[in-house]
Amino acid sequence: MAISSNETAPSAGSPGPASFLLHLVIALAIMIAGIVFAVLCAVAVFAALNTVLPDIKLIQAVLVMMLGVAACFGYFWGSNRLLDIIYPPRGSRVAENINAANGIRPWLFLGPAIVILGVYLVYPVVNSIVLSFHGPSGESWVGGANYAWLAQDAAFRESMRNNILWLIVVPAAATFFGLIAAALTDRIGWGNVAKSLIFMPMAISFVGASVIWKFIYDYRAQGSEQIGILNAIVTFFGAEPQAWITIPFWNNFFLMVILIWIQTGFAMVILSAALRGIPEETIEAAIIDGASPFQIFYKIKVPQIWGTIAVVWTTITILVLKVFDIVLAMTNGQWGSQVLANYMFDWMFRGLDFGRASTIALVIMAMVTPIMVWNIREARKDMK
């Protein structure tokens, strides 16, 4: 919203590409100076304090944190100061100096972020593509061999099938339950408490949730007392207890339940906000026309929040593509429950084949890309 309309352009006319490049170069130089300054300060202080403080990890962590914060401030403060020294906003060339400084300063503010994003997110994408054409240790060029292997690999096909199942079931179920929960809790007095409790699993790690649900699915041989609640219920009704997470194909759904349990709260919170944002006139008109509560919900409210439902759906979709911890902790891909992210991890750490693992990672990336493009387009629409 603020993109096209804030700040007047410098009165001297918009800077040409030459001065833009010059600004970048100067910014880079100042940035490097600033980083060196910040790091030097941090190292000096760290060395001094480290000899005094006891060797306890938590104390060291707090120390490092404070130094990190100090270094960050040091960088931003130092680089700004340097800029003011090079282009002082006073004297005979004040207008030119201010213009030059205004051209450079944004890059000083953005510098660390751009460097970190570049190293941690952009470079890996490029490097993964390169690695996918290389052998296990990333040295020898193998051309398309990894892709050819992937195309005929049975475990990969199983992972793809399971991932597609996850992609269909989890976003649909979480959004559905979230919508129901949002609609119901908005109508009762203790709705906020209920919301809090349904939202709570969001704070639980996937591994923690896996332990919680493994306890629910716990299996004892028939005849002995079941301590997993699912088997206790099943045997109460006279059926045989099952080792749920080892039943091929269906175990996928038992694992999905965990993610649905975690994500429903997220869907509920967002959809509840959207439901409250619906203009009341439309609902009042429907009530006057004699619509039942169900008709109002499905025919008046839901159609008005399609946009939000789409956002919730895609957000959970992205999460599902990356799901790894649950499968690793519950089955480690056994009994036909493998998924892409865990399969990639398998090739990375047990197969020790970086080429193949990178290729699998690229498949995940390719599946995310349509959502990425859509997100960028939506965001650009919002900003205009």
Partner: protein
């Protein structure tokens, strides 16, 4: 908002009951492990947590004192003691062979093969009466099915925190989480300010790039970064994981903060500019304090994400005692103690209690952040 529900009591009931059911489904799993983690481990192993408040049935095997200790009582010799060995319980039945461990009700007498009559009382006292002085040898095995009162204990927690190394992992997780939450906030705040309030070429492009980076899967970054770390010698260290979490959290941080800062009133910033304040001062003295809600939103996001992360910690930290974080430890325990639920439930609860507390304390900011930045998938 007036809803038609208010006028229909039946529907109100249905709504209330449905919500109760939903809440139960969503809280009982967690409640189950909390209850279980506090139960006595022998009781936990044989009965469901929902029976925690009812007396537990348990089969124990005791051995009487050796026959030579029998004391003469009148014409007979008697051997006495208690099957619970100092513990308490309520015996329901007893037996003398493993094939039928509850053959006799308490109070009755059973004839032993080597001669002698065994009686077990409800309080666990047993008496073996021999007609003649018995041969020396091993004591008689006595099978007792007893009913124990529900027992709760904090022993499981003491056990996992101090012997299973969970305490150490807890500290490791703190060590990873605190810097990995604070560092990205600072870096992102400056970048967000530049993107929201400074004019420069390429700004729209950068913003689009950040929205795009929001969804890049972590899996892409693991191998290249691992190789990079090994090349430059960071290896598996805390500094490596702090920077990794900073990198992975930065797109969301910049995105959230920029959107928030761009929505701040333009008049404040312009009047400060007119007064001669530099961008650096405006940021530090005006924007940063005003952006507190957005900073808090991101901080809680990042905190939960880093605390609960398993993947990044597994890849960038070692698997050893010194570096194992809570999630990694929990996964190891799950592998090695698949059926020891007293260890697993207590460990799981230790691992999830801090995020849950943070969640309840700062829920408002979490919701706000979610509403502002629901593009990233966690």
């Amino acid at each position: 908002m007036s809803t038609p529900v208010g006028s229909r009591p039946a529907l109100t009931w249905v709504v209330n009951l449905s919500v109760i059911l939903l809440v139960a489904l969503w809280t009982l799993p967690t409640f189950g492990i909390l209850v279980s983690s506090l139960r006595d481990k022998d009781q936990l192993a044989i009965s469901g947590w929902w029976t925690a408040l009812t007396p537990a049935e348990r089969n124990i095997v005791a051995r009487s004192a050796p026959p030579e200790e029998a004391q003469p009582v009148g014409d007979n010799y008697a051997l006495t003691g208690n099957v619970f060995e100092g513990g308490s319980g309520k015996a329901a039945a007893f037996g003398i062979s493993s094939r039928d461990p509850s053959a006799f009700p308490v109070g009755e007498s059973a004839e032993l093969r080597g001669g002698g009559m065994l009686t077990v009382e409800p309080n666990g006292d047993y008496e073996i009466v021999y007609k003649e002085r018995p041969e020396p040898g091993r004591g008689q095995r006595i099978f007792v099915s007893s009913v124990e009162p529900p027992k709760f204990t904090t022993e499981n927690y003491e056990n996992v925190l101090f012997s299973e190394g969970l305490g150490k992992s807890f500290i490791n997780t703190m060590t990873v989480t605190i810097p990995a939450t604070v560092i990205p906030i600072l870096i992102a705040a400056y970048a967000a300010y530049a993107l929201a309030w400074m004019e420069f070429p390429g700004r729209a492009l950068l913003l689009a790039a950040i929205v795009g980076l929001l969804v890049v899967p972590l899996q892409m970054s693991l191998i290249p970064l691992l190789r990079l770390y090994n090349t430059i010698g960071i290896g598996k260290s805390f500094i490596g994981i702090w920077l990794a979490h900073t990198g992975f959290g930065l797109p969301l941080a910049i995105y959230l903060l920029r959107n928030y800062m761009a929505g701040l009133p333009r008049e404040i910033i312009e009047s400060a500019r007119v007064d001669g304040a530099s961008d650096f001062d405006i940021f530090r003295k005006i924007i940063l304090p005003l952006s507190f809600p957005a900073l808090a939103s991101f901080a809680i996001f990042q905190f939960l994400w880093v605390w609960n992360d398993l993947l990044v910690a597994t890849v960038f930290l070692g698997n050893n005692e010194e570096q194992l974080v809570l999630t990694g430890r929990l996964r190891e325990l799950l592998g090695s103690y698949g059926g020891n639920w007293e260890i697993l439930t207590a460990s799981a609860f230790v691992a999830i209690v801090v995020p849950i507390l943070v969640f309840f304390a700062m829920q408002r900011y979490l919701v706000r952040g979610l509403l502002a930045g629901s593009v990233k998938g966690g």
